[in-house]
Structures are given as C-alpha cells and as structure tokens.
C-alpha cells in the first residue's frame, strides 16, 4: 500500500534507518561538487542528508504536480503539471527557468491536441 505523507520516508519504507539510502550517495556528492568551484570538501554525512532532503523534495514536487494533474481531470502526470506546480509554489522559484525550457520536440504541448488551427 502506498503511504501518502510527507514523512513516509522517515517512518518506514525508503530509508527508515541509516542503512541503504534511496539515492546513490556518490552521485549526490558529484552533483554537490559541480555546484560551485568553492565546494571542495564535503563531510561524509552531507550526501546522506541530501539523500533524505531530495526524497522530501521529490515527494513534495510530485504531490504539487499531481494536484495540477487532477485539476485538469487527468490521470497522467505531465511535464506541464510540474511547470504549473513550480509556478504556484514560492519555494520552487529557483526552478522556474529549468521547467520553462522548451522541450526538444513539441510533444508536451499544452492541450495535447494536433495543431490544426486555420
């Protein structure tokens, strides 16, 4: 059974203990190092903290995006729903440019209809 809730990962499931984490620590560390030139030394616990923080972040962004999906009475979460969730949430402001980048192909055009305008 799925457990909705912000701290579902804290209590059980994904990483209820400090054992295996749901996200690879080495990869997290790489991303941290790439974030800036002055990021040189990272303590062993920092990627572990991020593993948890990213879980919470992904959960929240997903939840907000799904709310947009439901508003549109759909059952498939689309990229536009993520963009709408980002636009509607203050703390996701840092993502605005990232989600509004034009896709490679216009598959996810809003409305999803063919362009048969006259």
């Amino acid at each position: 059974m799925r457990q909705p809730g912000m701290y579902s990962g804290m209590l059980s499931g994904i990483s209820g203990k400090t054992g295996p984490h749901s996200l690879p620590l080495a990869r997290i560390k790489k991303i941290m190092k790439k974030s800036g030139d002055d990021v040189k030394m990272i303590s062993g616990e920092a990627p572990i903290v991020f593993s948890k923080a990213c879980e919470l972040f992904i959960e929240e962004l997903t939840r907000q995006s799904w709310a947009m999906t439901m508003q549109g009475r759909r059952r498939t979460l689309h990229k536009d729903d993520v963009a709408s969730a980002v636009a509607a949430t203050d703390i996701f402001d840092f993502l605005v440019n990232l989600v509004s980048e034009p896709p490679n192909a216009d598959e996810d055009a809003p409305g999803g209809t063919n362009n048969i305008e006259h």
Binding site: P24, R27, E45
Partner: protein, 164 residues
C-alpha cells in the same frame, strides 16, 4: 567527456519515490520524470551553494550536515530542515556506536591501537565520527566519554591473555 547522466540522479530512483506519493492508478509521463530528475539536481546545487557560502564566510573548508540543514531552512524548506535535523541526529548516534564498536575490536587486534578513519568517500577530510567543525556536535567527538566501562573483551579472553 562528462556523461550527462552523471549530473542527474538515476531516473529509476526518482520514479520510485514519485510512485510512493501517487495513487496506484496514476501514470507518469517520461518527460515529467525527467523534469523532476532535473529539478532534484538543481535542488542539490541550489542548497549546496547556499551551504557552501556559509562555510566560506565562516572560514570553514568542509560542508557538513548542519550546513545543509541551515541552508534548507534559509531557503524556505523549513519542514525538511526539521525532519533532517532529527534524521542527522539518529545517523550520528548510529555512527558513534559503530565507531565505538570498531574502536573496541581494533584495540583488541592492533598492536598500535590506532582507530581507523574509515573513508566512505574519497576526498573527505571529516567523517561523521569527528564533528569538530560542528557547533552542535553535542559531545559526539569522543565516544569514550559516553561508554567508559562496558568493553567487550570476550574475544580477547578466549584467545589471548594480554591485549598487546
């Protein structure tokens, strides 16, 4: 050549976390997963940048868990910060217990008696055991203070008369 995927978290993991939040009948488009995958990396960069700035201002070289918690709070992710402070506390307790056990067993075997700094990841100069940088270390710097007496010398007793 840097693999593009190296700057992103694995999409399978991202998808799994997403599915746990959504109802069983929900579907997720591939582009949506990719978008959230990108957002997660951006999140790490964003928070790390803030944490790193703080370290820089305080003349510290190592970004630690407390810095991340502070950055999360500073950037508006207060809820995460609270949950993670608790998680970090549990992790540190766990680590200090492990260190305690390792110290005991390495004392039993090593002649030199030095405890090893386990290198979980390359390039670290701090581990979870020695939180000298952290203002909220709460006495975890030395495990000997917490457990002065009960040392498990059962192995020694059976095989050797003296620990040295």
């Amino acid at each position: 050549m840097v693999d593009e995927q190296e700057r992103l978290l694995p999409i399978a993991n991202v998808g799994r976390i997403m599915k746990l939040i959504l109802p069983p009948s929900a579907k997720i488009s591939k582009e949506a997963k990719q978008t959230i995958q990108e957002c997660a990396s951006e999140f790490v960069s964003f928070v790390t940048g803030e944490a790193s700035d703080k370290c820089h201002k305080e003349n510290r070289k190592t970004v630690n868990g407390d810095d991340i918690c502070w950055a999360l709070s500073s950037l508006g992710f207060d809820d995460y910060a609270e949950a993670i402070v608790r998680y970090l506390h549990k992790y540190r307790e766990h680590e200090s217990e492990r260190a305690n056990h390792k110290q005991q067993t390495s004392k039993a075997r090593d002649v030199t008696g030095q405890h090893d700094h386990e290198d979980k990841e390359e390039g670290d100069d701090d581990e979870g055991l020695c939180l000298t940088d952290s203002p909220r270390g709460k006495g975890i710097t030395s495990t000997r203070h917490r457990h002065p007496a009960p040392l498990e010398f059962r192995i020694i007793d059976r095989n050797e008369t003296s620990p040295f």
